[in-house]
């Protein structure tokens, strides 16, 4: 084994790179954390026992990844991982709004479509970090990619099963409804030019988004599901939802979920700051 991760790696980066990197970590962490937490709405309610078990594993993975990203972010600020989860106000979270939405009328196709859009996006975003000049990321990416592959397989298999005959129309409606929200995952407050120039990422978030869309588009074409967006060119014309998260405004669903997440922590009198504001 080569020597261990260079603990002074951070100091190799200038301030603006530090800031871009930290923002990037937190966006990843919050996406994973809120996605995993929201999926819990489905735990033990999926249509098959096998899916309960799979979903439990997926949730555990997403929370595990969130912990890894939070740890990397925590190294750049003076906060612990638990502080990041429990001491922040809801408006300090920076996930994209796709992951905070409740599931439409408890519909399983909403969950399946969302997992597919999210997991494919996650793979593209992770691959963009492969070979990163920042060692603490490089160390993690392979492991997360290894764990993510069955998430995509699970979502894809369900989509194939749900798009036979009459189910196709429902899936089509859901995909087109969620697509603008999925685009929020590629919004980023991190300076893309700095991330690319410093070798932390290979591509800008916009290019990652386009590559993601090509894959999503071709998958749904195979399933005969029509997307309202034809090409990556049209993607630029799609209006983002009113609430996108990412340092901007969230939906009220997030405020409610955040209240639930932190309730016991507050009940036990553990909070140091008033995170309920």
């Amino acid at each position: 084994m080569s020597n261990t991760v260079d603990e002074s790696a951070e100091s190799e980066f200038a301030n603006e790179e530090q800031t871009a990197l930290a923002t990037h970590f937190l966006e990843f962490a919050d996406d994973e954390f809120v996605h995993g937490d929201r999926l819990l709405d489905w735990y033990v309610k999926t249509p098959t026992l096998e899916s309960h078990i799979t979903l439990a594993n997926i949730i555990q993975d997403e929370l595990g990844h969130a912990r890894e990203w939070y740890e990397r972010y925590a190294d750049t600020v003076d906060m612990s991982v638990d502080d990041l989860v429990y001491e922040r106000r809801h408006d300090e979270f920076v996930h994209g709004t796709l992951v905070e939405l409740p599931f439409d009328q408890g519909s399983w196709d909403d969950a399946v479509v969302r997992m597919y859009l999210y997991d494919v996006a996650e793979r593209h975003r992770l691959e963009n970090l492969q070979g990163s000049t920042y060692n603490p990321i490089d160390d993690l990416i392979g492991k997360v990619l290894q764990e993510e592959s069955f998430h995509r397989e699970h979502a894809s298999e369900w989509l194939k099963a749900l798009t036979t005959d009459e189910g196709r129309e429902r899936i089509e409606k859901t995909v087109n409804r969620l697509l603008p929200y999925a685009l929020t995952l590629f919004e980023s407050a991190a300076n893309q030019q700095v991330l690319v120039d410093s070798g932390i990422c290979t591509k800008s978030a916009r290019r990652v988004r386009n590559d993601w869309f090509k894959e999503v588009r071709s998958f749904f074409d195979e399933l005969d599901v029509d997307l309202q967006v034809e090409s990556t060119h049209d993607l630029d014309g799609v209006s983002l939802p009113e609430y996108i998260g990412r340092g901007k405004r969230h939906t009220h669903h997030w405020i409610e979920l955040h209240q639930e997440q932190t309730m016991e922590y507050r009940n036990l009198g553990l909070q140091e700051t008033d995170s309920t504001l």
């Binding site: 084994m1 080569s2 261990t4 993975d61 595990g64 990844h65 392979g142 997360v144 290894q146």
Partner: protein, 118 residues
């Protein structure tokens, strides 16, 4: 990182390092009767003037036993005479796979009723 050289099992260790490896062999995975060394979790171990530094991995990132396991390891290694401090760093590269389980580990799992595919 050279994937051929991990995991480490402490084959040629002597002195205090040998004692530390022995202590690690005594720590079992929380879910199965197999030593964490035989499970292939230890990626590197250095001992310098009583300060022990361990690089290790976990089988998956969401491992719920992470804190228990790290506490067990710390406790076991700190109990070795001559050890003054223990630092553990988690590494995810290379990714742990079942190929990293040693032959002894495979035997322990077989005795437990689990056959690990080659």
């Amino acid at each position: 990182m050279d994937e051929q050289t991990v995991p480490r099992v402490g084959d040629n260790a002597t002195g205090l390092e040998r004692e530390v490896w022995n202590a690690l062999y005594g720590v079992e995975d929380p879910e199965m009767p197999i030593s964490i060394v035989d499970l292939g979790l230890i990626y590197d171990l250095t001992v310098e003037d009583g300060a022990v530094k361990i690089d290790m991995t976990l089988t998956y990132t969401g491992c719920p036993a992470r804190e228990f396991l790290l506490d067990d390891i710390k406790e076991a290694v700190e109990a070795v005479e001559g050890v003054s401090e223990v630092k553990i760093d988690i590494r995810w590269t290379p990714e742990w796979t079942i190929e990293m389980i040693t032959d002894e580990g495979r035997q322990s799992l077989k005795d437990f009723g689990l056959e690990v595919p080659k």
